[in-house]
């Protein structure tokens, strides 16, 4: 990939009328604002608050599991805790955090002044707080207790209020997600600076292209399943209710048709983040740009035809189990391409071990474990043993905590200077990384063994022979709870008083770094012209051509 052509034909666009360094007032971040950067920050901050709520629920769950007896909360409350923990973490933390990063970064990365549909964008964000409040409300009225999977008939029997609120909340956040996906897709395809071809895009944009496709195809099916479930729950229909002749397995198919791709909706954006962070801090071009870009599309496509691997012990015939086993296994191939590409990028580089890079390296180290256990779980005979056990709990947290959460942290440390105009504190970042890395492995590694040995998931009481491993996991969970403190302090303190960041503190080549930190309201004083590829590190021309861009920009203003 070499695209260093300097576009001379596209003249610099008209200079916007407002003052060049225009910034929003602080209170405007709390309003219906259509600036993609404001919306991005709104998404990130809101979702992080829900991360803390979901984490508090997880800490309560692990405290209950510190002893084999169900002695902390009532069994109903326990099921409420695990249901809300899963739902909050997925629909109010990881998915909207990904949307937040995409909102902030996509227009800047492709040289646009905003998203394609700014109003729709703000509408999409403002659906998240009510969706979350409904869930929080349900916890105090009557918790939904059927797990985040909410399988009927159980979900039809645990109480109409809680389950109804749960369905309603998910329909709102699902709609928000669809609107966001539509916006990302249109923006990436239509709003790039003229000099940027698809193959000149940063890999984060490729990842969001693939993610948006999944959102647009998958989420409506979830909405359909939830609406039918709501009819069964509230109107007494029998789409899924076996007492009326309905088929609960049909719900599982519809649910997983969205919810397997949801894993990729949650992790693909962070694959994109890692592909951005590693070349910058290793000072080397990404290894195999096209392979990494297209593997996102491959994952996205394959992700749509693997859903029934969640149903190998359900009402599924043998041929279906075999088909979904093979498709699921094949997803390991494009995922492997990314991991090997990242490793090859590191090889021979000049690796800076700063906070964003530590989280990116940590991402690879732990995500690969989740990827490996994912291939194992695809194997039908093995999955029959471990399905619905702590092995699966371990696997999914290695993917969603080790993958998504590490990726989100890498992104925050990397783009914090751009978002806020200030640097984060390095020593605190390293403390945060060490605590997170240790806590994560302490919490989730023992769960593999627990599941293999015979501990089922979603239980408040368990066989006393599993006590020791559970206590290790509980200690790990407390370490994770503590690990958020240095981060919170660091983020808040650095935002107010941190060292001022330059335009491009990491000497990166992608376009978001070629404007002020934080960017002015319409992003670029003069729309940038592409002079180097996004990852042309080590090519002698890049420093000069960067200077050219700057010179051209200042000269024309």
């Amino acid at each position: 990939m070499t695209q260093t052509e300097i576009s001379t034909t596209s003249a610099p666009e008209a200079v916007p009328a407002h003052a060049p360094t225009a910034q929003w007032k602080w209170w405007q971040y709390f309003t219906f604002n259509t600036d993609h950067k404001v919306i991005g920050i709104q998404y990130l901050v809101t979702s992080f608050i829900f991360y803390l709520i979901g984490g508090a629920l997880a800490t309560a769950i692990r405290t209950e599991l510190a002893t084999p007896a169900p002695n902390l909360v009532t069994p109903e409350t326990y099921n409420g805790l695990l249901t809300l923990h899963g739902t909050v973490m997925i629909f109010l933390w990881i998915v909207p955090a990904g949307a937040g990063l995409a909102n902030f970064l996509i227009p800047l990365m492709i040289g646009a002044r905003d998203m394609a549909f700014p109003k729709l964008n703000a509408v999409a964000f403002w659906m998240i707080p009510p969706s979350g409040l409904l869930l929080v409300l349900s916890f105090f009225l009557e918790s939904p207790q059927a797990g985040w999977t909410s399988y009927p008939p159980l979900s039809l029997m645990t109480g109409k209020v809680g389950e109804g609120l749960w369905i309603f909340s998910l329909l709102i956040s699902g709609t928000s997600s669809i609107l966001g996906g539509l916006n990302f897709l249109t923006t990436i395809l239509r709003m790039r600076v003229p000099s940027m071809k698809l193959n000149d895009m940063p890999l984060f944009c490729w990842a969001m292209l693939a993610t948006s496709g999944l959102i647009l195809i998958g989420t409506p099916v979830l909405a359909g399943a939830l609406i039918l479930l709501a009819f069964d729950l509230l109107a007494g229909t029998a789409f899924f209710n076996p007492t009326g002749g309905g088929d609960p397995v049909v719900y599982q198919h519809m649910f997983w048709f969205y919810s397997h791709p949801a894993v990729y909706i949650m992790v693909l954006p962070l694959f994109g983040v890692i592909s951005e962070v590693i070349p910058v801090h290793a000072r080397k071009p990404i290894f195999g740009y096209q392979a990494i870009a297209y593997s996102s599309l491959a994952i996205s496509f394959l992700g749509l035809i693997v859903w029934a691997h969640h149903m190998f012990t359900s009402g599924t015939p043998a041929w279906l189990r075999m088909f979904f086993m093979i498709t699921t296994m094949i997803i390991a191939v494009p995922t492997g391409i990314k991991i090997f590409g990242w490793l090859a990028t590191l090889w021979g580089g000049k690796i800076a071990l700063n906070s964003p890079m530590l989280f990116a390296l940590g991402f690879i180290a732990v995500f690969v474990i989740g990827g490996i256990s994912g291939v194992m779980l695809a194997s039908v005979p093995f999955d029959i043993h471990v399905h619905d056990t702590y092995f699966v709990v371990a696997h999914l947290h290695y993917v969603l905590f080790g993958g998504s959460v590490f990726g989100i942290y890498a992104a925050i440390y990397h783009w914090f200077p751009k978002i806020t105009g200030r640097m984060m504190n390095e020593p605190l970042g390293i403390v945060h990384f060490v605590l997170t890395f240790v806590g994560m492995n302490l919490t989730f590694m023992p769960m593999h063994e627990l599941g293999l040995l015979g501990m089922n998931r979603r239980v408040a009481l368990y066989d006393p022979r599993f006590t020791t491993l559970n206590q290790v996991a509980t200690v790990g969970a407390y370490v994770l709870a503590v690990s958020t403190l240095p981060f919170l302090f660091n983020a808040v303190w650095s935002w107010m008083k941190g060292e001022k960041a330059s335009e491009n503190p990491w000497r990166a080549l992608t376009l978001e770094w070629q404007t002020s930190s934080p960017p002015e309201i319409e992003n670029f004083e003069v729309l940038p012209v592409l002079t180097t590829g996004p990852y042309d590190y080590g090519m002698n021309h890049h420093s000069e051509s960067m200077a050219e861009t700057t010179a051209a920009a200042t000269g024309s203003s």
Partner: protein, 379 residues
Amino acid sequence: MNIPSQILTLLAGIALTLISLWYGQNHGLMPVQASDDAVAVDGLFNAMMTVSMGIFLLVQGVLIFSIFKFRRRAGDETDGPPIEGNVLLEIVWTAIPVVIVLVISVYSFDVYKSMGGFDPEASDDPGLVQVAMMPDSESNAAFNTASDTASAPLINAPRHHHHHSVALGIGASPETANKPADVTVNVLGMQYAWIFSYPESGITSGELHIPVDKDVKLTLKAQDVIHAFWLPEFRLKQDTIPGQDSELRFVPRRVGDYPIVCAELCGAYHGGMVSRLYVQTQEDYDQWVQSQVALKDSQESAKTSTVASLDAIADPTPNMGDRATTSPDPIRQQISQKFGIDDSLLNQVQPATPTTATPTTATPATATPTTAPLSAMHS
């Protein structure tokens, strides 16, 4: 001393291979193997663990090596070499995973076949039959009136008289195919217990007894919500789904007693839904059956006494309705002994059973869990 890097790489590769091979056989992560299926699944698991360990060591090794070897030195502001890719390398690391997953798929297919996953009786899709039947048969109205009669096997019957023979799950292995099973046990999952009934002898029990080295077939049904019948030591699991039969067929190879776990979230006391599987010698098994038959006869002749013996709980269903009203405590004690459940928990479980259902689903089938399942199982 200067060792060429090729030799170091070779040594690292050999070490990685040896560690992976050793770990694949010695991880000690699986419970005892109580059936041929368990041996087959563990063989597959060990193979996957070997490959996994190799990939794990490779990735972590490269990562750690890079962090040390390619760390940026203080003051070095230069970039690394501008290498953008290598087609050959990319083909290799695409092709190797393809081969690995294909081999694992074929191996898995083979193990699944040996377990009996392709027994047509347990692997065909009843959904096709089902969809065709749906519009003209059971209308909701007809169904609701039917549900007013408590004695009808409400949940299980209506869907299933269309296709008697198909029950998804793990069926007969190639060796036992086309032969009737030696022992058949009907398993009913309900909030929050497993009920086992033996059609040949007519007995019902709260724990599962089977003879060793015999071809055992479990037919699985669910009373209220989805449960999952899991035998960790046999590596077998199958959801029990209301309205859909499923089955598990296997040959126990090891005398002993094993946990039976419900693996699918089924309500507040899901964690308490455990039982025991006793694999016995043929003599012990016969003795147990005889004692149960005798107990059943004595109970039928003296129905008034519900709390007569310790083993009364082995036939818990007829007593279920009486529990809350007549002297519940001895029964609870027996349950807690039999199932290993905390007595205080049972205190909560028992009143919970009839009340967890909401009005829509609280058909008589769930409200009186006693008669419906039994008639379903004995029919």
